[in-house]
């Protein structure tokens, strides 16, 4: 089923226009140059007032702290996203729901961890990401073990199919919480990829490369970060999402890798990933591999806006806004802590 260019604007024209407007307000290079020259957080607030952010910090009591800025930035994105979601028809609404599932996974992991250690539910709820809230959140604390949690509550959430695919009841009890998180995320990515493929047309054209890159990036980073931990190679292989370019040969090779150089050798077979590894290094002054991955992701997301009449722009807008939030918070931290050395390690989004 592909969305014909003719009928797209009937249901989604307003929202696409809105999102393109939001994209137009993303900070440019000149804005970032202004921000990194600020001496204090008050200056930063002043400079942000002249951008799309306007007076979002106007009602905050001074002294301004970085965590307040972070919260307010997130709140702004959440409000905008929820407006878009509320006006969406099918199939855009399912697409937008898929975007929120990743936050939902994080929230569920947080709630499971908190419940396992007997924290009060009222402490945990405010710490959840607002984009990932679901109805049964408050009820999570009635379960004592993850298995009970699943049977009673999670089975009604939209995340149930992701649990079913890969985690059995006793796994939930034994597994380390991070492994549960990564297994869920793998199922989520694969589900999202399938959905986009089924949509076809421009959406598939735009989203599938983005999701494929995300899958490969996770596989590479999980491999690198699992060196020296108790994660076995088999367990690690179970966490690789299969919807990327590295599937199946690259993933098999990664599962066998023992150190950074072997991982690099595997990625040398794939042109874009080789470029990313070349720019990265661990010496001071080099960009880290994660930074290079962020840059590539931002590039792919910006390309999404080149085409019209597809849903990829919504995903790209959310991710770009998130990256912008991270950039602003990084600059604010550098200013607040007086460490101006690395203040320009933010990821540039638009020219």
């Amino acid at each position: 089923m592909s969305i014909s260019e003719l009928y797209y604007n009937v249901d989604n024209g307003y929202l696409e226009g809105l999102v393109r407007g939001f994209k137009g307000g993303i900070l440019r290079q000149t804005d970032y140059l202004n921000l990194i020259q600020c001496e204090t957080l008050e200056d930063l607030k002043l400079h942000l007032q002249s951008t799309d952010y306007g007076t979002f910090l106007a009602n905050e009591p001074s002294p301004l702290t970085v965590s307040v800025i972070d919260d307010k930035l997130k709140e702004k994105l959440v409000v905008e996203f929820q407006h878009v979601r509320n006006h969406a028809y099918e199939p855009l609404s399912t697409f937008l729901d898929f975007i929120t599932y990743s936050y939902m996974i994080d929230n569920i992991i947080l709630l499971i961890t908190g419940t396992l250690h007997q924290r009060a539910i009222s402490e945990l709820i405010p710490k959840c990401h607002p984009l990932g809230s679901f109805e049964q959140m408050e009820a999570v604390n009635i379960a004592a073990t993850p298995a009970e949690l699943y049977n009673a509550i999670l089975v009604d959430t939209p995340l149930a199919p992701f649990f079913q695919d890969c985690i059995s009841e006793q796994d939930l009890d034994e597994m380390n919480i991070e492994i549960i998180r990564n297994t869920l995320y793998k199922a989520y990515l694969e589900g999202f990829y399938k959905f986009c493929q089924e949509m076809g047309g421009a959406t598939a054209d735009v989203m599938c490369p983005i999701l494929a890159f995300e899958a490969d990036r996770r596989a590479i980073i999980i491999t690198i970060n699992s060196f020296g931990t108790e994660l076995t190679k088999d367990d690690r292989a179970k966490l690789y999402p299969r919807c990327g370019k590295l599937f199946p040969d690259g993933l098999a090779a990664l599962a066998r890798a023992d150190d950074y150089d072997q991982v690099r050798a595997v990625s040398d077979y794939y042109a874009e990933y080789r470029l990313l590894f070349e720019g990265a290094g661990n010496n001071p002054g080099d960009k880290t591999l994660e930074d290079r991955f962020f840059e590539h992701e931002v590039e792919l997301n910006v390309y999404a806006f080149m085409q019209q009449f597809h849903f990829g722009i919504f995903y790209a807008w959310v991710k770009l806004k998130e990256q912008e939030c991270r950039n602003i918070v990084w600059i604010a931290e550098c200013i607040a802590q007086g460490q101006r050395g690395k203040i320009d390690s933010y990821i540039q989004i638009l020219e």
Partner: protein, 245 residues
């Protein structure tokens, strides 16, 4: 107080010897306490220098640690809550033992880690390397903090003990010893005076005896002139005491 006070005792030769030995004891105690105070002051200065050094280092380490927290947040997003919720028991612990410096017990804190790292897999899918760096930096910061804590407790304890010891040294030097010395000189003056009194009394008695003898001689000569008799051997007055010649 003024140097006029002295211990109220009866001045006698035994009291004199007692006082002499007490003076000696006080002087020995004074020199021992002075040595203790000097050793403690030396240690105090060392601790002070170390504290300054550690505090400066602490500032730098904390700065680096907060910055690595910002870096990790940039790469990984908000992992703060997960870590906080996952805490069960402490893996960095502190134990204390006592160290003896010149008789003072100083507590020393040592840092040791108990159990494995339960946060190995945090940030597995993003930001893992930054989180690793962050863990190391904060670990260093905690170790420094423990060291600083033991240095500061020793600083405070040493300070107190040094004050007490110095107070005692000064008390002995300016109160006890002068008092004993005054008592000693008083006893000596009293004894001297008594001797002088004794001497005077003796002299007076001698004089009196001489006068009496002179009078007896005169009487005998007067009697002999009257009777013109030979005196008898048996009649010849009494023998003078051999003492008062």
């Amino acid at each position: 107080m003024s140097g006029k006070d002295r211990l109220p005792i009866f001045p006698s030769r035994m009291a004199l010897t007692n006082m002499k030995s007490r003076l000696k004891g006080a002087q020995k105690g004074h020199s021992l306490l002075k040595k203790k105070a000097d050793a403690l002051t030396l240690r105090f200065r060392q601790v002070l220098a170390k504290i300054i050094e550690t505090k400066v280092l602490m500032g730098e380490v904390m700065k680096e640690a907060s910055f690595s927290l910002a870096e990790a947040k940039f790469a990984c997003g908000d992992f703060n809550h997960i870590v906080v919720q996952n805490v069960t028991k402490a893996s960095c612990k502190v134990k204390s033992r006592k160290e003896n410096v010149a008789g003072v017990n100083l507590p020393v804190f040592e840092h040791y880690s108990d159990g494995t790292d339960s946060y190995e897999l945090t940030g597995l899918s993003r930001g893992g390397q930054q989180i690793d760096k962050l863990k190391k930096n904060y670990g260093k910061a905690v170790e420094l903090l423990v060291e600083l804590a033991s240095l500061q407790t020793s600083f405070v304890t040493l300070d107190e003990v040094i004050k007490i010891t110095n107070r005692r040294v000064n008390a002995i030097e300016h109160v006890i010893i002068p008092r004993i010395e005054n008592t000693l000189s008083y006893i000596i003056t009293e004894l001297d005076e008594r001797e002088r009194e004794e001497f005077y009394r003796l002299k007076k008695i001698q004089e009196k005896m001489k006068q009496l003898r002179a009078k007896a001689e005169k009487d005998k000569i007067a009697r002999m002139a009257e009777s013109e008799e030979a005196g008898s051997l048996l009649d010849d007055g009494e023998d003078d005491d051999l003492l008062f010649t």
